[in-house]
C-alpha cells in the first residue's frame, strides 16, 4: 500500500525511469512501436502502484470464497482440493471411448469429459445419410441408451463426475445418462456432472445448430427446471466462452459475450418463474486459456468479479452460491500448430499455468497432435502429465491467487472488466443476447477480430513459432486413425437395437413428446421415458425439428 | 494506516468465518505448504504482507537501483534475453556444425561445453584423458581446435559463453587469438568465461590449483580485461551447480553472492578500483520447478547485490550494482521416466526465469537425463524459449 503523498515521489521516479528509457531506446530501439496482447489490448511498459491507486481492496478483490470472488470461489481454493483434471475425450465407438476413459482414470485423471461425434452433436443417428463419413470421427457415437451403457460400463457413476459437451440434444443425452446410472443402481440425486447445453454460443460461434433460438432456450430451461428439482448435483448449463474465443474473439469479447449469454439464460429461467437462488448455483462456465499469459489470468479474475456483480446487483440474488462463477478451462486449440507439434506441449504448459493462476475449477489440456486428429493415447498422456507437473511440482497451487496485488495483473483485470462491461451494455441496448445474435452483432464482432488476427499473423506482426518464424521441417508424429470396422459395428448395433426394442412403445413415447413439445410441459420426464425404451437420439430430434422448425446459420460477414 | 488495520481485521474475520467453515468440511491438502527452500507459504497474501512505504526503496524502477524490477530500463521491450543453448560434444568440427544449426534456428548466443580433460587441464593424448575425450563437451587442446570450433562464425557478431573454470585464462587467450586471426579486435569480442573457481571447490570439482593461486589468476583476468577486452564478462559467478547439488533457493543465492563478495574483495586487495571491474561480473543461476519461489529469488538476488555493491564496497557507478545473470533450467528436475514430461517442466522453469528478468537462458532438452541431447530435442528446447518470447508477448 502506498500512501497518497508518496505518489508524488513515485511519479518523480517514474519520470526518471522514462528518461532512462528514452535514452536506452535511442541507442537500441524497442522491439516494437506498440506492445499489445494477443487480443490486441495495448499494454504499458511498466506498471507501478499508481496504476492500481483507486483499486478498493474490499470492493474489487476481497477474500477467497467471498463476494466478489476475484481471488477465487472457495475459501481454501487449491489448498483444499486441486482442480479437476478433466480430459475431453471420445473416439470411435462407445467401447473405444470407454477404454480411453479407463486409461485416463488409471493415470490420475479425476473427472470424465465426453466428446461426441458430429452426428450425435447435431441430433442425427449413425445410420442417417447426414452421418456419412462422420461416424466416430471427432468423438464417440451415441445413438441410443445402449451406447451410453457401454460408454460407462465398469465406471461407477456415483463416484465420477462427467461432463458432456452436447448442445442441441443435451436433454436427450442427459436423459440417457440418468437411465444408464439408474441401471447401475445409482439414483439421479447421486450423479453429478455437466451438460454444456449452451445454445447461444452455438448461434454465435460453434454452429452446432438444430432448432431456432426460442425453442432452443425452452429446451434449456426445461433441463434447468427439471434438474433443480430432481438432479440437484448436476450443472445444467456450461456457459461457454471457449468456442467464442476459438472462433476468433478477443479475450474481452469472450468474456463479455459469455456473461451476456449467462444473463440471457438467467432471464429465461426467471421468465419461467424459477427461483434464481435455486437454479443459479448450478450454472457453470467454460473458458479458453489462450497463449497471452497475463491477459488470460486477468480475464478469469475479472470474470468472477463481474458475474458476482451481475447476479447480486442486476438479478438481486440473495445466496452467495449464486454469485460464484465456477468454470472449466480448456487450453486454446487455435494456438496450436501443425508445424513442429512438440511446440504445442510448451504452449499448452503456459496456458494451463494461466488457467490455474486464474483459479479454474477444472482443466483440459490439449494434446500436441490435436491439429491433426483425435489425440493418441501417448499424446493425451503428456497433456495430462502437464497438469500433474503443474499441480504437484511447481508449487503454484500452494497459496491462493498468488498474483493478486501485482500492479500489472490488477490493472489488466480492471481494464478487461471495463471493456467487457461496455460490450454488455451494448448488448443490453440491442435488447439482449438473443436479439443481438439475430442481428449478427456478436458474430460480426468475432469475424472481424478473427480476420484482423489472421492478417497480423500473415504480416508477421504477431508471431507463431514454426509457422511464420523459425520455420523448419519436423519429424512426423503418430496420428490416431479410426478403424473402419468401428462404423460398421456401430451401424449393426443400432440396427439390432431398433429390431429388438418394443417399437410400439417407442412410437407412443415419441407421440407423447410431440404433444409435450407442442404444449408447454417440461419435456425432460418424457424424454427419460423414451430413451429408456431405446428410442434413438434422432427419432426424438426429428420430432423437435418437425414441431419447432430448424435453424440455418445466416453466415454474416 | 487506517485501511491496513481494516485489512488485518477483515483477514482475521475471513479466516474465522468463511475459511474455517469451509476447511472443517474440506480440509487442506497438506498441513503445511512450503517451497523447495522450506519457506512456508501462507494461504493468502494481501497488502499487509508488503512492508509499508517501501515501493521506491525496495522495488524502484527498471534500470535503477536497487534493480529489483530489472537491470535495463527497457527490459524485454528492447531486446529479448539471449537464447543461449549450452552445447559441445565430440570434436570441434561436429560442435561447429551444431552451432551453425542453432544459429540458423534463431539462437542468439553461443555457449561452449568443454570435455573434462580440457576443463581439468589435460590434452587429449594424456593417459588421464583416456575414455573422456569429447564425452561431455568438445575437446580443445590447441589453438587449431579453437579455430575449427569457430570456423565460419564471425566473432564480432556473436557472443560466446564458455563454461570453463580452472583453465579459463587459457581458453580466453585462445579465443582472443582466433578473433585476431579473423581480424576481430579484442575490444570487439563479447562473451563470458565462467571462471568461478570457488564454486568448483564447493560443488562442481573441476579445480586444479589451490584456492590462493586460483584467485590470483582470476584477478589477473579482471585486470587484463578491463583494459583490453572491455566487453568481456570476466566471471560468471554461479549458483547453478550448488543448486543442482541439492541446495535450496535461499542457499543458492546466499552462497553465490558470498563467493562474489570474495572475488570483489580479492580484486580490491590487489589494488583494482571496484568501479573498473565490477560491471563485468556476471552471474549464473538455476531455475527450478517452484515457479513463484524462483521468480522471487531472482528479484531478491538483484536487490541484494545492488545493496552489497553500494553499501559494502561503496561502488559509485550504477552499472557496478547491477546483477546481470544467465539462467539454466534445472537439470536435476528432469526425469528419465516419461521424458516428454520434461518438456513441460522446462517450459515452467523458462517462464519463471523470464518473469524473474534473466539476461540469457539455456533451456534443457527433454532427453538430457539420458545422454547428450539430440538435435530434435535441442530444437524443442530452443522453441520453448521462442514461444515464451514471441507468442506469450511479455
Amino acid at each position: 500500500m502506498v500512501k497518497e503523498e508518496e505518489f508524488a515521489e513515485l511519479r518523480q521516479g517514474k519520470g526518471r525511469w522514462k528518461k532512462d528509457l528514452d535514452e536506452a531506446r535511442s541507442k537500441v530501439p524497442l522491439r516494437r512501436n506498440r506492445f499489445s496482447t494477443v487480443s490486441d489490448l495495448e499494454i504499458e511498459g511498466l506498471y507501478t502502484p499508481e496504476d492500481i491507486k483507486h483499486l478498493d481492496y474490499f470492493q474489487k478483490i476481497g477474500f477467497p470464497g467471498q463476494y466478489p470472488f476475484t481471488r477465487g470461489i472457495q475459501p481454501s481454493m487449491y489448498l483444499g482440493r486441486l482442480w479437476t483434471m478433466r480430459m475431453f475425450s471420445g473416439l470411435g465407438g462407445p467401447e473405444e471411448t470407454n477404454q480411453r476413459f479407463k486409461y485416463l482414470l488409471e493415470h490420475g485423471e479425476t473427472g470424465l469429459s465426453v466428446a461426441f461425434h458430429f452426428p450425435t452433436l447435431m441430433g442425427y443417428d449413425s445410420d442417417s445419410s447426414m452421418a456419412k463419413g462422420e461416424v466416430g470421427k471427432c468423438g464417440v457415437a451415441v445413438d441410443t441408451l445402449k451406447d451410453m451403457e457401454i460408454l460407462f460400463d465398469g465406471i461407477p457413476l456415483d463416484r465420477v463426475t462427467t461432463s458432456m459437451t452436447i448442445n442441441p440434444p443435451a436433454s436427450i443425452l442427459l436423459a440417457m445418462y440418468i437411465v444408464a446410472a439408474e441401471k447401475q443402481g445409482v439414483n439421479r440425486e447421486q450423479i453429478s456432472g455437466t451438460i454444456q447445453n449452451d445454445m447461444l454460443k452455438e448461434f454465435i460461434a460453434q454452429k452446432t445448430l438444430m432448432l431456432p433460438p426460442n425453442p432452443s432456450i425452452r429446451l434449456i430451461v426445461d433441463t434447468v427446471e427439471f434438474c433443480t428439482l430432481e438432479v440437484p448435483r448436476w450443472n445444467t448449463i456450461s456457459i461457454s466462452g471457449y468456442h467464442i474465443r476459438e472462433a476468433g474473439a478477443t479475450a474481452v469479447q469472450e468474456l463479455a459475450f459469455t456473461l451476456a449469454d449467462g444473463i440471457a439464460y438467467v432471464e429465461a429461467c426467471i421468465d419461467r418463474a424459477l427461483d434464481i437462488d435455486r437454479f443459479a448455483p448450478r450454472l457453470s462456465f467454460f473458458f479458453d486459456a489462450h497463449i497471452d499469459f497475463f491477459e488470460e489470468i486477468a480475464k478469469l479474475r475479472a470474470a468472477r468479479r463481474m458475474w458476482a456483480r451481475i447476479m447480486k446487483e442486476r438479478f438481486g440474488s440473495k445466496s452467495s452460491r449464486s454469485w460464484m462463477l465456477r468454470f472449466h478451462t480448456q487450453t486454446a486449440g487455435v494456438s496450436l500448430t501443425a508445424q513442429q507439434p512438440y511446440n504445442n506441449v510448451v504452449r499448452t504448459t503456459c496456458e494451463a499455468l494461466a488457467a490455474v493462476l486464474g483459479g479454474t475449477q477444472s482443466l483440459h489440456t490439449n494434446s500436441l497432435d490435436e491439429t491433426y486428429a483425435i489425440p493418441t493415447e501417448e499424446a493425451a498422456f503428456i497433456a495430462l502429465r502437464t497438469q500433474q507437473v503443474l499441480a504437484e511440482e511447481t508449487g503454484v497451487a500452494n497459496t491462493i491467487d498468488p498474483l493478486a496485488g501485482s500492479y500489472f495483473v490488477e490493472a489488466l483485470t480492471n481494464r478487461i472488466e471495463e471493456d467487457a462491461w461496455e460490450y454488455i451494455h451494448k448488448i443490453d441496448e440491442l435488447g439482449g443476447m438473443v436479439k443481438a445474435i439475430d442481428r449478427g452483432y456478436p458474430q460480426a464482432e468475432i469475424a472481424e477480430s478473427a480476420y484482423i488476427y489472421q492478417q497480423q499473423i500473415d504480416s508477421g506482426e504477431k508471431t507463431l513459432i514454426g509457422v511464420n518464424k523459425y520455420v523448419t521441417d519436423h519429424p512426423p508424429i503418430p496420428i490416431w486413425r479410426m478403424d473402419p470396422a468401428i462404423e460398421k459395428k456401430q451401424l449393426e448395433r443400432l440396427k439390432a437395437v431398433k429390431t429388438t426394442r418394443n417399437n410400439d412403445r417407442v412410437r407412443t413415447h415419441l407421440e407423447r413428446i410431440r404433444r409435450g413439445a407442442e404444449g408447454d410441459e417440461n419435456l425432460m420426464p418424457l424424454i427419460i421415458d423414451a430413451v429408456r425404451e431405446y428410442t434413438t437420439l434422432q427419432e426424438i430430434c426429428d420430432v423437435f425439428r418437425q414441431v419447432f422448425g430448424t435453424y440455418q446459420d445466416p453466415g454474416m460477414f | 494506516m487506517e485501511e491496513r488495520e481494516k485489512l488485518i481485521a477483515e483477514t482475521k474475520r475471513w479466516e474465522e468465518t468463511t475459511f474455517s467453515k469451509s476447511v472443517s468440511r474440506f480440509p487442506e491438502r497438506k498441513k503445511k505448504f512450503e517451497s523447495t527452500s522450506h519457506i512456508e507459504f501462507k494461504r493468502l497474501y494481501t497488502s499487509i504482507d508488503e512492508r509499508e512505504d517501501d515501493y521506491i526503496e525496495r522495488l524502484g524502477f527498471p534500470g535503477e537501483y536497487p534493480f529489483t524490477r530489472g537491470v535495463q530500463p527497457t527490459m524485454y521491450r528492447g531486446r529479448f534475453w539471449t537464447m543461449r543453448q549450452y552445447s559441445g560434444f565430440a570434436t570441434a568440427e561436429e560442435t561447429n556444425k551444431r552451432y551453425k544449426y542453432l544459429l540458423e534456428q534463431g539462437q542468439t548466443g553461443l555457449s561452449v561445453a568443454f570435455d573434462l580433460p580440457t576443463q581439468i587441464g589435460y590434452d587429449s593424448d594424456h593417459p588421464m584423458s583416456l575414455g573422456e575425450v569429447g564425452k561431455v563437451g568438445v575437446a580443445i587442446d590447441t589453438l587449431s581446435d579453437m579455430e575449427t570450433l569457430f570456423e565460419g562464425i564471425p566473432l564480432d557478431r556473436v557472443s560466446t559463453s564458455m563454461t570453463i573454470n580452472a583453465t579459463a585464462v587459457i581458453l580466453l587467450a585462445m579465443y582472443l587469438a582466433v578473433a585476431e586471426k579473423q581480424g576481430v579486435k579484442p575490444e570487439q569480442v563479447r562473451g563470458t568465461i565462467q571462471n568461478d573457481i570457488l564454486k568448483e571447490y564447493v560443488a562442481r570439482g573441476t579445480h586444479i590449483f589451490p584456492p590462493r593461486p586460483s584467485m590470483r589468476i582470476i584477478t589477473d583476468i579482471f585486470a587484463f580485461c578491463k583494459d583490453n577486452v572491455p566487453q568481456w564478462n570476466t566471471i560468471s559467478i554461479s549458483g547453478y551447480h550448488m543448486r543442482e547439488a541439492g541446495s535450496s533457493a535461499v542457499q543458492e543465492v546466499a552462497f553465490t553472492l558470498a563467493n562474489a563478495i570474495a572475488y570483489v574483495q580479492a580484486a580490491i586487495d590487489v589494488g583494482l578500483d571496484v568501479d573498473d571491474f565490477a560491471k563485468r561480473l556476471s552471474f549464473f543461476f538455476n531455475c527450478h520447478n517452484n515457479l513463484l519461489e524462483e521468480i522471487a529469488k531472482f528479484r531478491a538476488a538483484r536487490r541484494l547485490w545492488a545493496r552489497i555493491m553500494k553499501e559494502r564496497f561503496h561502488a559509485q557507478k550504477p552499472a557496478s550494482c547491477m546483477l546481470r545473470f544467465h539462467t539454466q533450467t534445472a537439470g536435476s528436475t528432469l526425469t528419465l521416466q516419461q521424458p516428454d514430461n520434461n518438456v513441460v517442466r522446462v517450459a515452467f522453469q523458462a517462464l519463471a526465469a523470464v518473469l524473474g528478468g534473466t539476461q540469457s537462458l539455456h533451456t534443457n532438452s527433454r532427453d538430457e537425463a539420458l545422454a547428450l541431447p539430440s538435435e530434435e530435442a535441442v530444437r524443442i528446447a530452443l522453441r520453448t524459449q521462442q514461444i515464451i518470447a514471441h507468442e506469450r508477448r511479455p
Binding site: F118, P119, L121, M122, Y124, M130, A131, K132, G133, E134, K137, C138, E202, Q206, K207, T208, L209, E246, A247, G248, V334, T337, A338, Q339, T371, Y372, A373, I374, A447, A450, Y451, Q454, Q455, I457, D458, L464, G466, V467, N468, P476, I479, M482, Q552, D553, G555, F557 | -
Partner: protein, 135 residues
C-alpha cells in the same frame, strides 16, 4: 482470356462440422484479393456443393473440414463433379488434414491441400497461379 474475367470461387463447408472460422477468414481473404466468393454456409452435402458450383459457374471450389471426414467428403465431391462433367472446376481443400492423407486426396482430384498455418496470401497466390480462367 478476357481482362474482364473475374475469378469466382466457392467456399464450402461439407459435412456436419460447424467450425467456420477458417472458411470465413479465407472467404474474406479472397474477397480482399478481388475475387468473387460464393459462400454457402454450413453443413453442406457433397450434392449441394456440386450443384452450387455448377449454377454459379465457379472456377474453384475451396473446401474446409475440421472433423476428419475429409477422407470421405472431398473425394465424393470430385466424383460428383466428374459425373456432371464439371471436373474442369479446380477443387482445393483446407482444415485439419494429416499430411499422410494428402496423396490420397490428390489422387482423388483435389489439387491442393492447405493445412493449418497457411497464410491467406499463399492460398490466393496458389489459385492465381494454378487456375486457368475459361473463355
Amino acid at each position: 482470356m478476357s481482362p474482364k474475367r473475374k475469378i469466382r470461387i466457392l467456399i464450402a463447408k461439407p459435412g456436419l462440422d460447424g467450425h467456420d472460422r477458417g472458411a470465413r477468414v479465407i472467404a474474406r481473404g479472397f474477397r480482399d484479393a478481388g475475387f468473387e466468393v460464393i459462400y454457402t454456409g454450413l453443413h453442406q452435402t457433397p450434392e449441394q456443393i456440386v450443384a452450387t458450383a455448377i449454377q454459379e459457374d465457379v472456377d474453384v471450389i475451396g473446401l474446409s473440414a475440421l472433423s476428419g471426414a475429409h477422407d470421405y467428403l472431398f473425394p465424393r465431391i470430385t466424383e460428383l463433379l466428374r459425373e456432371e462433367g464439371a471436373d474442369d472446376i479446380t477443387v482445393i481443400g483446407g482444415g485439419i488434414i494429416p499430411e499422410e492423407d494428402i496423396p490420397e486426396l490428390n489422387k482423388a482430384g483435389v489439387k491442393a491441400i492447405f493445412t493449418p498455418g497457411t497464410r491467406i496470401e499463399e492460398a490466393v497466390a496458389w489459385v492465381k497461379g494454378h487456375v486457368k480462367l475459361r473463355g
